[in-house]
C-alpha cells in the first residue's frame, strides 16, 4: 500500500498539524494560566495588588460555603437528566418505532426542543409554563383543583432539571430511533412466533441492541451537562441561596461577579479535575465502541 510510504506520511502530519496545534494551544494556554493564577492573590478590582499565596485560593474555594452544594447540584443535575432522558428516550423511541400515519411529523415534533437555544427554553419554561400565577402549569393544576406549584421558589433545582431534561430528551430519542431501525426484524418476528411477550422482546432483544447507543448518549450528554450554565444564568441566577448553583455557575460568580481571579482559577482546576474523573470512566466504558 502506498499509504504507508514516506511522502504520504509527511502529508499526513502536515494536514493534521493545524488542527492539532490550535487545539493544543486552546487547551494548554488556559490551563497553564489557570494554574498560575490559582497560586496568586489576584482580584480584578485591585489589579495592582498581586502576590503569590500558595494554596490559599484552593483552601478558600474548597471551604467556600457554596462549594459542596455546587458539587452536589452538579452531580444531581447530570445524573437526573441522564436517567430521565435515557429511560424516557428508550420508552418513547420504542413507542414511535412502528410505522404509522404521520410518523415523520411525530418525529420532527419530538426532536424539535434540541434545536431551541438554552436561553430561550429556560425563559419560555420559567415565564410561560412554570409561572405560579399566570403560567400554563398553574392553570392546569387549578383545573384539577390543586394549588399551583411555585416552581422556582419551592423546587428550584427540580425546575432546572426539568428544563434541561426537556432539552436533551430529543437527542436521546433521535439516537435511539435511528438505532432501532437497524434492529434485526426477523429475530423479533421469530421471537413473536415463539410466543415471546412484548415485554420479553423489549427486555431481551431491544435493550441489548440499544446498549451501545445508550452508552453514546450518556457520554455526549455528560460532556454538555457538566457545562450547564445558560439555563441557570437566565432563570435563577444560582439561587435562591445556592440551591441551583452548580460548579460552572459558582466559578462564574467568583470570576465575573466577585472578580476573584485566584479563587475562580482554583475552582476552574477543580472543574477540570471533576470532568477528567468522569471522562476517565466514560472513555473506558465507551472508547472501544467509538472506534468500530
Amino acid at each position: 500500500m502506498s499509504f504507508s510510504s514516506s511522502p504520504p506520511r509527511r502529508v499526513g502530519v502536515l494536514t493534521a498539524s493545524p488542527a492539532v496545534i490550535m487545539l493544543f494551544a486552546w487547551m494548554i494556554v488556559p490551563l497553564v494560566m489557570t494554574l498560575y493564577f490559582s497560586t496568586q492573590y489576584y482580584n480584578l478590582l485591585y489589579p495592582g495588588r498581586t502576590a503569590f499565596v500558595g494554596l490559599e485560593n484552593f483552601a478558600y474555594f474548597f471551604t467556600y460555603p457554596s462549594f459542596w452544594t455546587s458539587v452536589f447540584n452538579t452531580l444531581l443535575l447530570v445524573g437526573s437528566v441522564l436517567v430521565i432522558t435515557v429511560v424516557g428516550g428508550v420508552l418513547i423511541s420504542v413507542l414511535v418505532d412502528a410505522r404509522f400515519p404521520g410518523q415523520g411529523i411525530v418525529r420532527i415534533l419530538l426532536i424539535s426542543p434540541f434545536f431551541i437555544m438554552p436561553t430561550v427554553s429556560a425563559l419560555v419554561w420559567k415565564n410561560l409554563l412554570m409561572n405560579p400565577v399566570s403560567g400554563l402549569f398553574a392553570w392546569v393544576s387549578q383545573l384539577f383543583g390543586l394549588t399551583p406549584i411555585n416552581w422556582f421558589a419551592d423546587w428550584p433545582l427540580l425546575s432546572i432539571i426539568l428544563i434541561v431534561a426537556w432539552e436533551w430528551l430529543p437527542f436521546a430519542i433521535l439516537i435511539f430511533v435511528t438505532a432501532l431501525q437497524s434492529m434485526n426484524q426477523e429475530q423479533k418476528e421469530a421471537a413473536q412466533m415463539d410466543g415471546a411477550t412484548p415485554v420479553a422482546i423489549f427486555r431481551y432483544l431491544t435493550v441489548p441492541h440499544l446498549a451501545r447507543p445508550i452508552a453514546v448518549v450518556v457520554m455526549v450528554e455528560t460532556i454538555f451537562l457538566l457545562n450547564i450554565f445558560a439555563e441557570i444564568f437566565t432563570t435563577t441566577g444560582g439561587g435562591p441561596g445556592d440551591a441551583t448553583t452548580n460548579v460552572p455557575f459558582l466559578i462564574f460568580t467568583q470570576a465575573l461577579l466577585e472578580f476573584d481571579v485566584g479563587a475562580a482559577s482554583a475552582g476552574g482546576l477543580f472543574a477540570v479535575l471533576l470532568a477528567n474523573v468522569v471522562a476517565y470512566f466514560l472513555i473506558r466504558l465507551i472508547g472501544k465502541s467509538l472506534d468500530a
Binding site: T15, F100, S112, N127
Partner: protein
C-alpha cells in the same frame, strides 16, 4: 386496537414534548394582556404587534447579523481546520492517530468554566472582548473536536481505491482532496457544517461572558429579557421565535444526517 392506542400515544407524547415551542409561538402573536390572562387565551385574534416592536426597539437585526456572522465564521474556520485533519486521520493513519483522536475528544470534556478566566483576561488584554472575531475563534475551537470526529467517520467509509486511482493518474494531495474527496463526501461535510452552525448559533456561555452589545448574538439578546424590566411575555416570545426559527427549520431538514455525526458514527 393496540395499534390505534399506540398511534394515539405517539401523537400525544409528541405534542406534549413539542408543546412549549408551540405555546411560545402562539404567545408571540398575542397582546401582552392576552399573554398574561388567566385562564389562558387559546383562541385570540393574532397580532403582529410584538414582532413590529422587537424589530423597531431592540436592534434585532444587529444581533441577528452577529449570530449569522459568528456562527458562519466559526463554521468556516472549523471546517478549514477539521477537513485536513480528518483527511490525515482517515487516509494517512499512523500509530498515534487513535490516541490523537481520543485526545481531541477529551478536550471537549474540559469544562468551559475552566478556561473562562484566562480566556477572559487574554481577550481583555488583547482588546478583543465583545468582538466577533473572538467568538468566531472560540466557537471554532470548542466545536473542532466534534467536527474532526464527524468528518473522520465520513472519510473512513470512503473506499481507498478511489484515492489510489487518482494518485496513479498523478493527482497531487491538494487535487486529491478537492477533486476526489470533497465531491464524494459533500453530504457529510454539509451535515458537519450544519451541526457546527446549530451549536454555535445556540451557544450561550461564551456569548454571555465575552460580549456586551457590539458582538452579542441572539442568545444574549434573549437572555437580556430575563431582567425584571424585560418581563413582557408576548415580546419575549416573539424575539425567541425569531431567534430559534432558522435553526429549528435547519434541524428538521437535517435530523437524519445529524445522528451519525453526533454519535461519531457509532450508531447507524
Amino acid at each position: 386496537m393496540a395499534g390505534i392506542a399506540r398511534v394515539a400515544g405517539s401523537w400525544l407524547v409528541a405534542l406534549i414534548v413539542f408543546f412549549p415551542i408551540l405555546w411560545m409561538v402562539l404567545t408571540s402573536f398575542k397582546t401582552e394582556l392576552q399573554a398574561f390572562s388567566m385562564p389562558p387565551d387559546f383562541f385570540f385574534g393574532p397580532t403582529l404587534e410584538n414582532y413590529r416592536e422587537i424589530l423597531e426597539r431592540t436592534d434585532y437585526l444587529h444581533y441577528a447579523w452577529n449570530s449569522i456572522a459568528i456562527s458562519g465564521g466559526a463554521t468556516l474556520l472549523g471546517m478549514v481546520l477539521a477537513v485536513p485533519a480528518a483527511y490525515s486521520f482517515a487516509f494517512h493513519p499512523s500509530t498515534r492517530t487513535r490516541g490523537t483522536l481520543m485526545w481531541m475528544l477529551s478536550t471537549k470534556m474540559l469544562p468551559s468554566v475552566g478556561a473562562l478566566v484566562p480566556i477572559y483576561l487574554l481577550s481583555r488584554n488583547l482588546g478583543l472582548l465583545d468582538s466577533r472575531i473572538l467568538l468566531i475563534t472560540v466557537f471554532a475551537f470548542v466545536n473542532l473536536p466534534i467536527m474532526v470526529w464527524m468528518i473522520y467517520t465520513y472519510f473512513r467509509d470512503i473506499p481507498k481505491d478511489i484515492l489510489e486511482a487518482a494518485r496513479m493518474d498523478g493527482a497531487t494531495t491538494t487535487q486529491e482532496m478537492i477533486r476526489v474527496l470533497l465531491p464524494v463526501s459533500r453530504g457529510g461535510l454539509a451535515s458537519t457544517a450544519l451541526l457546527s452552525l446549530i451549536l454555535s448559533w445556540n451557544e450561550a456561555f461564551w456569548s454571555l461572558n465575552l460580549t456586551t452589545t457590539h458582538a452579542a448574538p441572539l442568545s444574549a439578546l434573549v437572555a437580556s429579557f430575563a431582567s425584571p424590566q424585560g418581563l413582557f411575555w408576548a415580546r419575549l416570545s416573539a424575539v425567541s421565535t425569531l431567534a430559534c426559527a432558522p435553526i429549528l427549520v435547519l434541524g428538521w431538514f437535517s435530523q437524519k444526517q445529524l445522528v451519525r455525526g453526533l454519535t461519531f458514527g457509532a450508531v447507524k
